[in-house]
Symmetry: C2
Subunit: 589 residues, 2 copies
Amino acid sequence: MASDLEEPFHTRLRTATVHAVFLENIETFITQLNSINHINLFVTELKEEDTSCTMYPRPEGSPSQTPSVSGQKKVDVVCDALRKAMESMNPNKFCLSILTAYVKKTVPELEVALQKVHELRENPPAAAGAVSAEEALKYLLFLVNVNDLYEHSLGTYDFDLVLMVAEKSQKDPKEYLPFLNMLKSLEPNYQRYTIDKHLKRYRKALVHLSKSGEEHFTEVLQLVKEQKLFSEALKLYTTDSPQYKRLSSAYAEHLVEQQQAEQAGLLLWRCGLPARALQAFTSCSSWRNAICVAQQIPLPTDQLALLARDLAERLTEQRRYSEAALLLDQYAKDCEEAILALITGAVWEEALRLIYMHNRQDITETNLKPALLEAVNSQTGFLEAQVATFTRHRSRLAVVREQKEKARLDMLDEEGPDCPDAELYSEASSVMTASKYSQSNSRISSRSSKNRRKAERKKLSLKEGSPMEDRALMHALSEIISTVDKMREEIHSLLKSLVLFQFDKQAEKLQLVYEEALQTMEGAVPEVWPEALLNSNTPVTGPNSTANSIMASFQQQQQQKPAASQLDPEIPTAPKMKNGVKWKLTILK
Amino acid sequence: MASDLEEPFHTRLRTATVHAVFLENIETFITQLNSINHINLFVTELKEEDTSCTMYPRPEGSPSQTPSVSGQKKVDVVCDALRKAMESMNPNKFCLSILTAYVKKTVPELEVALQKVHELRENPPAAAGAVSAEEALKYLLFLVNVNDLYEHSLGTYDFDLVLMVAEKSQKDPKEYLPFLNMLKSLEPNYQRYTIDKHLKRYRKALVHLSKSGEEHFTEVLQLVKEQKLFSEALKLYTTDSPQYKRLSSAYAEHLVEQQQAEQAGLLLWRCGLPARALQAFTSCSSWRNAICVAQQIPLPTDQLALLARDLAERLTEQRRYSEAALLLDQYAKDCEEAILALITGAVWEEALRLIYMHNRQDITETNLKPALLEAVNSQTGFLEAQVATFTRHRSRLAVVREQKEKARLDMLDEEGPDCPDAELYSEASSVMTASKYSQSNSRISSRSSKNRRKAERKKLSLKEGSPMEDRALMHALSEIISTVDKMREEIHSLLKSLVLFQFDKQAEKLQLVYEEALQTMEGAVPEVWPEALLNSNTPVTGPNSTANSIMASFQQQQQQKPAASQLDPEIPTAPKMKNGVKWKLTILK
């Protein structure tokens, strides 16, 4: 049992284990190589791939390796480990290898390498054979492009270092000296900002600029807007400072442009710009926030009422009737409009609540009851139409499938009974026909799989004889089932209100129509999605199954199951019906 | 093309077509048989099966027949058609066959048959060779049990007919005469009610009893309760009658016992029993109805407030905090409690709305902000725990799968390379082990498939080495994904409130933790559910596929796809993540 367990662990952790062994014995490795050149060569040849996999591929089916166990890259781990070992063993002797280890990291640490060179020049090592600053710099220039090195030396803000590199380069002193002199004349933070900006290190530039005095704040704002460093900038100022407010305001403007008005509103509100926050919240129907801000301002009652009406209108357009009603009732103080909104939205119980709350039972007679009767009619009609379409599609699907089956059998006859691919043709025929129609779309495969699915769905046509008609029908049937199934809560609520007002006959009719619709659809699922039936009704494994019974049903399924389901992920699946939702009233028979 | 279409239509409609041809030529059929006896034999031998299917089975795979096209049973359709034809051809000649056609319907129409006999006695036909009432009754007694016939003769409420049948039977006149005399003495409706009740025809009994005068209403109520004929009874009285009210009240009592308190409340409310309706609505937390009834009564303000508090408490227990808050705010007039309920329920925006509405900004400091900070901590902790469990299960799943794979390969080695069932053992081995543990559950298969699934899920144990451990792990992983995925809206709302109150650091941390959790889970799906990956990433059909490419990938999939997915419907499926729900704030980095 122990060896059973060992093997997979070992396989899975192979890379990690190799690393660990290497890292533990790194000093031995360095000592054994015994050559600066060889170490340099080893480091420069490091690659971010697991050669234990790429050079010695493992058998197919083994679990794939994650590229890194710790989250760090292999090259960086090895570089850092080697460098640290060499620094502790003999920094002078391994000087060039140490520089190599800095430069070869996935993000080269050129500044640190340059700093080392600078130190060599400041404090030349006394040891015999130690590398001089000159030699080290020459070596770096051999590894790294001179312009890169010059830029990075600027990034250390150390002008001695910059000059050292510049002198070694082919650069014209007439070019770089004026620039360096200009920099030297600047206030330290502003100097660093100028360098950072020159090096396109905008985040660092922002930090230095923010420290360089209030007189530069316009430049801060400019930089933040240009480089979209809003979040970063906000962190550099206290929340009660005027800069924080101006930055928030600029950020909010940007967010509104990005269709993020609600977040813009939050920023404006919290930094003390309620009027603009109100505008932002209103524009995106973030009505609770809008109302809160309005009351904080505070807006006069009549203007608050207007705001509430404006928001209610937006919400009504989005069919958010309950929220619209709340605004009309509580802030516009117009209970009648509120009740009408609820009736329009078929939120019957809440409508009745407001009717009783405001003692407006007259609206029950004038609006609620007529609306209930209208709703029961339209729902009944809608359901009958859905059932009719459903039945038509279902019959047509049976016809299309028989035609396909016949075509398949005909092909089987032609090919002779031994043709092993006969099973395939049933599906392939439809697909081949389809490809004929879609040659112009051959670039479709480069799109994302989501887009492809969308595009494929578009190709589905319900037109009789269309190449994928069966799938289009299945898709349409599935949509109808979902639509009708989703109505459970809505129907339940309507039935209750109908009963309350003694509209028992209408309620009974609706209950009957809806029940029949659900039964029709549920009953059709096994025919429309035969695999679903197979899976749910004939489980092959279970407490009573034996190895033989399992094998038998496996072989049987292999024969019965249409090839289609294995071939194509795009076959619409059977919708899951929410049979857990109890919608029927027992008092209606 | 025309013949292509004809065949399937013909096949599908075979039964219907046969029926139609038969029904159109029914007189010819009767004329050709030319024998009362043969007709009687034909009718008595009719069976409710489609012999065109059962005697001549169609090839497997043809669409199955629905038992009836019109919804009516075949036997009834044929009986009625024959009878009508004979009645129009020669009712005297075919008298016995006509009786047979009544008696042989799936629900025998014995009363009508008896009525025919009665008519023969009242108006003996003049035609030569016509059947006498005597002969007809004898024939009926030959077809039907005498007691059945006696009971049904009672059901005609025709005492002459009853006596005629009784005389033909072996019954003792001392037995039946007193009973018949007693019946004759009763008021007509009450008489019919007594007969109906004797025959256990309770619906008819109810109708007759309800017509027999108000003095019998206690009996109506008794009958309705005993036979649970509430809905039927309500239809027999006008909605404003005292009987309607008493029936509604009895029905409501019954409904409350059946855990249908809301429907009970509706009945009580609409028939003018608001106090009891209020009780019913309150008991099932149907708070809107409860409040409306209370205001209709009308309850005094202080009692309404108490009711609102009672309802709010019930709703809080059900974690329906928003509704509880509405009651506390609008009916108990306790905005502080309302705001606290919303804060407890993490309904941040609504809490803030009430804070501003009631000018209670003090609660922001004392309760809202501390609750936000507590929420961010608990959510972060919860997410970290979920991710930890997820990662542990995922690693363990990889180990279990490798062990299984190794066991499979070992078995393959033992059986030799030609063993065709090797693929199967990988799954079968786990199932066989499972069946060893579940022999005591062998009666499980008689349960519904839903119960079985539940039972199977219970058997899944996460204990290391448990026979279905891999599935238990997949199930647990799926649950964690669903739980975490469901939190999108909740996290979004919390993040917004945190930002509003300048808790940016905490919000950033939460956003990071949640994003990492979602990424971890989404990233694990292809590994945990490899089939899902296969289906979504390597579509084999598409605009660029050819018949050859489809066949190639089909064969490849046959080899690659683990046998498990075809064998067992109970393998937990990959949860669908709601990536459409945008929860992240762009202002947090």
